[in-house]
C-alpha cells in the first residue's frame, strides 16, 4: 500500500459577505486547487463536500457542487463535523485512496455564513451545543470556551494579557495574508482601552479581541495516491499521520477543563502514525477560534507542558522566527472562520509552507507540519501531520 499526498490546494478569499451563491463560492477554492495540481476535473475520481449544514439553505450541497464543478458522474458525498469538517474530509479521502477505491479525490470545504440572516445565525448559535440540556440555559460558543479560559487561568495563572498576546500575533500575520478577513494591526493596549472594541466584554473572561469572526469562504484539497502524485506533482506533500477523536457534547460529561481531550488523543494518534513527536514539527496551524483555544493547543499538542503555553507566547516562540511557528497565516482570528472551509485552509497553509511557497509568511525550510482542527467546543478533534518526504 502506497503513500497518500496532497497535490493541489486552493482557497477563496475569506470575506464578511460573499457576493455570490454557494456553488460560485466553492468554485473559487476548487479552481485554484485544480490549477495548482495542474490536472483537469476529469481526473478527479470522487469529491467530498464539507460544511456545517445549519448555515445552508441548499439541501445536500454535494450534488449541486458536483454538477457546477464538472464532477458528474463521479461519486460525491457530504461530511460534517462542525468546524473540523474539512479535516474530517481529508481523513475520508485518505481512506478512499488507501483502500484503492479511488486514485484522486477532491476535498471541498465551504461555508457561506451570510447565507442566513444575523438573527437566524444567533438562533443557530444557541443550538450549537446539547439542545436538550444546555441550550435552554442560553449558551453560546464563546461562553463555553470562556469556561475553559476561566479554568485555565485559575489552575495555571494564565492571564487575559497572555490571551491578548495570541491575538496580537495573529494580527501580525493577518496583515500580510491577502485572503484574511481581518487585516488591521492589533496591539495589547487595545485590550485595556475601554473605548476600543477589542476590550468589549463577550463572555467573561473572553473579550471581543479574543474571538474570531464569522466569514464566508471555500477551500479545496486535491488528494492523490503515490503513483499519481509522483507522476503529476513536482512537490507532493505527503500525509504522514492522521488522528481523530470525539468527546461528550455536554460539558457535564467531561473531566478536563484546561485542555481538550480530543486534541490530546488525536495528536497522540497522529504522532504515532507519523513516527514523529512535538519537537519534530517545524510549523503548525492550530484551531484558534478563540485565543484560549490556541493556548490550550500549545499544551494539548505537546509544544508545551500543561500550563506552559503562556511561556511560549510570552517568549514569542510561536512567531515565525520562533522555535515552533504557529498560525503564521493569521489563524482563524485574522482569516475568519468559515466553518466548513477552515480545515482545508489550515491544510493549504501547511502545504504551501512545506513547498516553500508561503511568500511573506514562509518559515525557513520546514520539513514537517501539523494541522490541529477542532469541531465544536472540543467535541470533535482532528490532527493531521504532513511532510515533504
Amino acid at each position: 500500500m502506497g503513500k497518500v499526498a496532497i497535490i493541489g490546494v486552493g482557497q477563496s478569499a475569506f470575506v464578511r459577505s460573499y457576493p455570490g451563491s454557494i456553488r460560485e463560492l466553492a468554485f473559487e477554492g476548487f479552481r485554484e486547487a485544480i490549477q495548482d495540481a495542474q490536472i483537469t476535473t476529469r481526473e478527479i475520481d470522487a469529491s467530498i463536500i464539507c460544511s456545517a449544514p445549519e448555515y445552508d439553505k441548499q439541501r445536500s450541497p454535494a450534488g449541486v457542487f458536483a454538477e457546477y464543478l464538472g464532477l458528474n458522474p463521479q461519486p460525491t458525498f457530504y461530511v460534517e463535523s462542525l468546524c473540523s469538517s474539512s479535516s474530517m474530509g481529508l481523513r475520508q479521502a485518505y481512506a478512499l485512496i488507501k483502500s484503492g477505491l479511488h486514485k484522486i479525490v477532491a476535498v471541498i470545504g465551504f461555508q457561506k455564513m451570510s447565507e442566513i440572516s444575523s438573527s437566524e445565525s444567533q438562533e443557530r448559535m444557541g443550538r450549537g451545543a446539547d439542545i436538550q440540556w444546555e441550550s435552554p440555559f442560553g449558551t453560546m460558543m464563546p461562553a463555553y470556551y470562556a469556561m475553559y479560559a476561566r479554568a485555565h487561568m485559575q489552575k495555571y495563572g494564565t492571564t487575559p494579557e497572555d490571551l491578548a498576546r495570541i491575538r496580537v500575533k495573529a494580527a501580525t500575520y493577518g496583515q500580510i495574508n491577502d485572503r484574511a478577513v481581518y487585516r488591521k494591526p492589533v496591539g495589547l493596549e487595545m485590550f485595556v482601552d475601554p473605548e476600543n472594541r477589542m476590550s468589549g466584554p463577550v463572555a467573561s473572561p473572553l473579550r471581543v479581541g479574543d474571538c474570531c469572526a464569522n466569514a464566508d469562504g471555500s477551500s479545496c484539497l486535491i488528494v492523490a495516491n503515490e503513483e499519481m502524485a509522483k507522476a503529476l506533482s513536482p512537490k507532493p506533500v505527503w500525509i504522514l499521520g492522521l488522528g481523530a477523536a470525539s468527546a461528550s457534547v455536554n460539558l457535564a460529561g467531561r473531566d478536563l477543563f484546561t485542555g481538550l481531550t480530543v486534541a490530546r488523543q488525536a495528536s497522540r494518534q497522529a504522532y504515532q502514525m507519523a513516527g514523529v513527536g512535538p519537537p519534530d514539527i517545524d510549523v503548525a496551524e492550530v484551531h484558534d477560534c478563540f485565543t484560549i483555544a490556541e493556548m490550550m493547543a500549545y499544551e494539548d499538542l505537546g509544544f508545551a507542558e500543561p500550563g506552559g503555553g503562556k511561556e511560549l507566547i510570552r517568549s514569542q516562540a510561536t512567531y515565525r522566527e520562533g522555535s515552533i511557528p504557529v498560525n503564521v497565516d493569521g489563524g482563524l482570528l485574522s482569516k475568519g472562520h468559515p466553518i466548513g472551509a477552515t480545515g482545508g485552509s489550515q491544510i493549504r497553509t501547511i502545504v504551501l509552507q512545506l513547498r516553500e511557497e508561503a511568500d511573506a509568511m514562509q518559515v525557513p525550510s520546514p520539513e514537517i507540519g501539523l494541522v490541529h482542527n477542532i469541531g465544536g467546543v472540543g467535541l470533535y478533534g482532528n490532527v493531521s501531520i504532513l511532510g515533504r518526504a
Binding site: 444557541g126 444546555e134 435552554p136 449558551t139
Partner: protein, 144 residues
Amino acid sequence: MGSIKEMDDRFKKFGTVSFTSTTKINDFIDYLENGQVMGTRCKVCGLVFFPPRADCYQCLASNMEWFEVAGRGQLVTYSKLEFAPVGFQEDVPYCIALVDYGDYKVFGRIAGDVPEGDIQIGMEVKTVVNRVANEQFNYVFQKA
C-alpha cells in the same frame, strides 16, 4: 390530529427556551415542578447519569430509577455572558456554570442574586429549582 394532542410534550417547559418537547424522561419536568432536580441511575448496572437518560450505554438496559441531585457540589468553572442567543436577551447578563457532585456533574446557571464578586471556582453550591417566565422551569446554583 388527536394523536398529536395526546403526545407527551412536557419537556417543552424546560428552560427559558426549550428546543426539545418529546423525550422518554419527561418525568424530570414533574419533579422540577415539585421542587426536585433529578438524575437517573441504571437499575441493572448502577451507572449514574446527569443529565438523566432513559437508556444505559454500559449495559444497554432501559430500566432507570430517579435520584435527587441533593447536597453540595463544587463550582468547576463559569462564564458571565454579555450577549445571548435569540430568546435569551432579556436575561443578560447571566452566568453559566458547571458543578461537580463527584459521581456526576451538572451544567446550568448561577442564581441571578449571587454577586459576581462572590463567585469563585471551587466554591460550594447547591442546585435548586427556579421558575422562569411563562411557566417555564430550570435550575440554578446557589451558594451552599
